[in-house]
Subunit: 299 residues, 2 copies
């Protein structure tokens, strides 16, 4: 059991960690640092045992474990303000969705004797805020931990156990690989969803049609993830822009080829492409990344 | 109540019509024409009252209502074979997802005294076949009927009532408007989903990464509709290729602009785009095209 745990930023992810750590008794004392007054109000309604702290200076040296769950664009400011109060023994982590850039910030801003091991729990939703949090949010979900050349193996083990206690399946990889993988499996799909909604809006204006009324035929499925938090996704897009640009280019290249196949009525090629996609879906279900229940629409 | 109803092609949609017409007693006699032996086997397990017919010639003149529910690529052959046995009084319709092209086929292949009013029920799933059908498939879903210059208003009224009895909300529009709207709300989203899965597969091969394992971060959402029936979607893509090409171009143009915004870190523009998408999501929920329940993953 940890003695003192500090959560900086307590929205959907932070409050889910708070709930799980409280109910599973992972830490004796949980401290929460949260700027938003509306979030603090929501947090006060929770029945979990924790203390809200504004002044971090005095408590920082005593912390066993600190986890930053704010938007990534706030990391630099936070690191700068907490850096000189940190204890070398403390386990330090964050939950950001893109890694190479934020690790650069850590390296630039942190004292050399302070080590940081970055985490990325693959969990979330299109909703945000502490009222939507859940102690089960991480259960059976991947959590990626970033190992670098100088990563302290003891601390990595403690961090691994922390996420396992929350129910996560932990996987260790380097930042470069992480950012490439998630540029395709998460960042591109979100961008594509946003772009499809933007295209629908543009088309609606141009044609003066009421499109949205007929969104059940496919568009609806994309609109859910396009309702995700805009600060979070701006930060991810900016932070992983190099990899994202690459996969956008690959996507456009493939889309142009699809268009050509359609215009030319390349029967065999199209059928192969569509059948191959179905195989990937089967693999996704086999890997328990989605359920096999067909979707016939709302309700 | 109709006397004699014939369903040609009895997969997901045809068998759902069969179930609803049987349970709601919409027709006294229901005839089913189905080529696939495996589908016939599945149909025979249904407890609904209907007759499977192979030779249509003798029964066609007696039909009050005929509905084609095969893949669109089979329409021409079917129309050619049934044309000379059709009764001018019969209500004739289909459930194809694209309209301008198939109406051209009807005009070319049907005797001049035979009238056809095309239907498009906006319902379905990524699964197909009569075992997945449901008598409630059309409940509260849109069904678009296509009205042309020479459409018989009496027949249109009967067809409207037919779909309303199945629970649909009926809307009448012309083929051109239909094909433009659904190129964006349905055909483009499916193509984009297929293309995203193709891009993921290509990227996986190129980088030798196991991407699919991490598809819960967004990719998963797209894989569901990319598992749809390949014959159906090839037919739709080919049939509505002109409109589809236009919206693909608009989509690519918007995606390139998004990429530029990201590379330049155009903060205000990105935030506006992402916020605007959220508004569309709200509209989709308000119009009851989706439910408001957040999605935290499988289960």
């Amino acid at each position: 059991m940890l003695n003192n745990l500090l959560i900086i930023g307590c929205g959907l992810i932070g409050s889910s960690i708070l709930r799980a750590c409280s109910s599973k008794k992972i830490a004796k004392n949980i401290f929460v640092n949260e700027k938003s007054k509306s979030n603090i109000k929501k947090l006060k309604r929770l029945k979990n045992n924790f203390k809200i702290v504004n002044d971090l200076k005095t408590i920082l040296p005593k912390m066993d474990f600190i986890i930053i769950c704010t938007h990534m664009s706030e990391y630099e400011k936070i690191i700068t303000s907490i850096n000189k109060h940190l204890n070398t023994k403390t386990i330090l982590t964050d939950v950001g969705s893109s890694k190479e850039n934020i690790i650069k910030i850590f390296k630039k801003k942190l004292n050399k004797d302070i080590s940081w091991i970055s985490s990325h729990p693959i969990s979330g939703s299109e909703v945000s805020g502490p009222d939507h949090g859940s102690g089960l949010l991480f259960k059976n979900k991947w959590c990626i931990l970033i190992k670098e050349k100088n990563t302290d193996n003891k601390k990595l083990k403690i961090l691994t156990n922390f996420w396992k206690r929350l129910g996560s399946r932990v996987l260790v990889m380097d930042a470069k690989k992480h950012d490439m993988i998630f540029s395709l499996t998460s960042h591109l799909p979100h961008l594509i969803a946003y772009n499809l909604i933007k295209t629908a809006t543009d088309f609606e204006k141009r044609k003066n049609y009421n499109l949205i009324n007929f969104s059940a035929g496919g568009l609806r499925d994309f609109s859910r993830i396009a309702a995700s938090n805009e600060i979070m996704w701006r930060d991810i897009f900016f932070s992983n822009s190099k990899n994202l640009s690459q996969v956008i280019n690959l996507f456009i290249q493939n889309l142009k080829s699809f268009k050509k196949n359609i215009q030319r009525k390349d029967d065999k090629i199209i059928i192969k492409k569509l059948k191959d996609a179905k195989k990937v879906r089967k693999k996704i279900i086999k890997l328990k990344q989605d359920i096999n229940r067909p979707d016939f629409g709302r309700g």
